[in-house]
């Protein structure tokens, strides 16, 4: 489902003396449907960078990043957008929304984007928000004023509203209490059971052991010169 071959990535800082910072070299990785791979490595080793390369936020310098048959590194913007709408979901550490849009609509949006009728989309959003213990009185408010943990749970609800065949999870269980953490892990296991390919970053050792089938150490992708 997700297949990376010889991916490398460097940043060129044109406004700081054109410094070139190589961050990744020869990264290869393959994740099948129904499998969850955990990315490990110290902070700054390039876990989130790798995720952004897969999601298409970062442009791979070379190599191929094939998700569901589309090479993200070379595809046209509209192909990447279609992929993100129909195939590839991403739960980041930050919630980015249009201000003043109610939480329920924020969560329902991925479903509306694939043409789910509005009432069905809202029902699904409501059930996810309830599962993640977001009080119903908050659903009509914008999540921009929520606490960090609440925003994160809204972000997770949004990421699981539509059943993406491939999912990227950037620390989905960080800053959650035990009960919510268990709910999120159950959602991840549910997604695996229905055949989603998942790449996750988990700092929480127990969570990692529970859902990941195997681990990929990204420090192996560090450029040789820097090592």
């Amino acid at each position: 489902m997700i297949e990376l071959k010889n991916v490398s990535k460097s940043f060129t800082l044109h406004n700081q003396g054109s410094a070139v910072i190589p961050v990744m070299e020869n990264a290869s990785l393959s994740v099948k449907s129904g499998e969850c791979a955990g990315l490990i490595g110290a902070s700054g080793a390039g876990k989130s960078t790798l995720m952004r390369v897969i999601y298409g936020n970062y442009l791979a310098a070379s190599g191929s990043v094939v998700v569901g048959g589309v090479d993200v590194a070379k595809a046209e913007p509209r192909e990447v957008l279609a992929l993100r709408r129909e195939t590839l979901g991403y739960v980041s550490q930050f919630l980015r929304v249009v201000p003043r849009v109610p939480t329920l609509d924020v969560v329902a949006e991925p479903l509306l984007a694939v043409g789910t009728p509005a009432d069905q989309a809202r029902d699904k959003a409501a059930s996810l928000l309830a599962q993640l213990n977001i009080p119903e009185r908050l659903w009509s408010l914008s999540p921009t004023t929520f606490s960090g943990g609440e925003q994160q749970r809204v972000n997770i609800a949004r990421g699981f509203a539509y059943e993406y065949p491939a999912l990227l999870l950037d620390e989905p269980t960080a800053s959650l209490d035990a009960q919510n953490r268990a709910t999120v892990l159950a959602l991840i296991e549910g997604a695996k059971a229905r055949g989603a390919a998942i790449i996750g970053i988990f700092h929480d050792e127990a969570a990692r052991q529970q859902v990941c089938d195997r681990f990929v150490d990204v420090s192996g992708f560090a450029p040789k010169a820097a090592a």
């Binding site: 406004n15 442009l59 003043r100």
Partner: protein
């Protein structure tokens, strides 16, 4: 899928000065493209050249018309281009006053575009206008008020209703949220996103506000001194800019 709009090597000069030059891209149905750049970078010149408000000195702007398929709008007859401007194209100006008739009622402003495409039944036009006022969240009781009695945000929403009532397929927007209160801006952004999704619109949005582009546009074009310096997926251009100018632009945004 066929592109809705094909732009080939468009250039517009102001005497010896470059307005914009060497611009080429394809826009597909349902795509929203943002154009960013500093003042004087040529983004409005480009938009006006594409929309037929300025005549480009070079290049083709090929639109996939419903009746005749792809036609170069630069060389098409003036009446045909005007017809396009009333039906499949829409233009949302930065200042609502430029896009509205200030001495005609709100309902009349919306109805005028309907009449231009052949609607004649007064009751039906009024109902249609009332429906669109509702969609842009203006109370139906204001239908007979003139836009001069509206706030800036309401005028902008009225301009959008007037433009979208005929179900255009391509919308040009010049700083649609510029000059609006941030609270009104958020409302307008959400409205535009919903309309784009429901109607399957294609749009080209010129703005200097990177946050607006991130929320509205799937792809992005960065201009400097009349040239396109970078294009790509909006997230990618903003998160991992490749060109020196784009890096400067992105790193210059003030954090709130």
């Amino acid at each position: 899928m066929k592109p809705l709009l094909q732009v080939k090597d468009v250039a517009k000069m102001y005497g010896a000065r470059i307005g914009c030059t060497g611009v080429s891209f394809d826009l597909y149905p349902g795509e929203v493209m943002g154009i960013v750049g500093e003042s004087g970078s040529g983004k409005s010149t480009l938009l006006n050249s594409l929309a037929g408000h300025l005549v480009p000195d070079r290049g083709e702007v090929i639109f996939d018309t419903r009746a005749d398929g792809p036609v170069d709008t630069v060389t098409m007859s003036e009446p045909a281009r005007r017809m396009l401007g009333r039906t499949d194209w829409a233009f949302v100006h930065q200042h609502a006053r430029d896009g509205l008739r200030m001495s005609v009622s709100a309902g009349g402003n919306i109805g005028e575009r309907l009449m231009a495409v052949g609607n004649r039944h007064y009751g039906a036009i009024r109902d249609h206008a009332a429906d669109w006022l509702g969609r842009v969240e203006i109370s139906e009781s204001r239908i007979d008020d003139r836009p001069s009695a509206f706030s800036g945000g309401m005028q902008q929403r009225l301009q959008i209703a007037r433009n979208l009532v005929t179900g255009p397929r391509l919308v040009f927007m010049d700083e649609p949220t510029g000059g609006l209160d941030v609270s009104v801006q958020a409302l307008l952004l959400d409205l535009l996103r919903g309309l784009v999704r429901e109607m399957g619109l294609s749009a080209i949005i010129v703005t200097h506000d990177l946050a607006v582009v991130r929320l509205l546009a799937g792809r992005l074009m960065v201009m400097k001194d009349g040239h396109v310096v970078e294009t790509g997926l909006t997230d990618q251009v903003l998160d991992d800019p490749q060109h020196a100018y784009t890096q400067l632009l992105v790193s210059s945004v003030l954090q709130v």
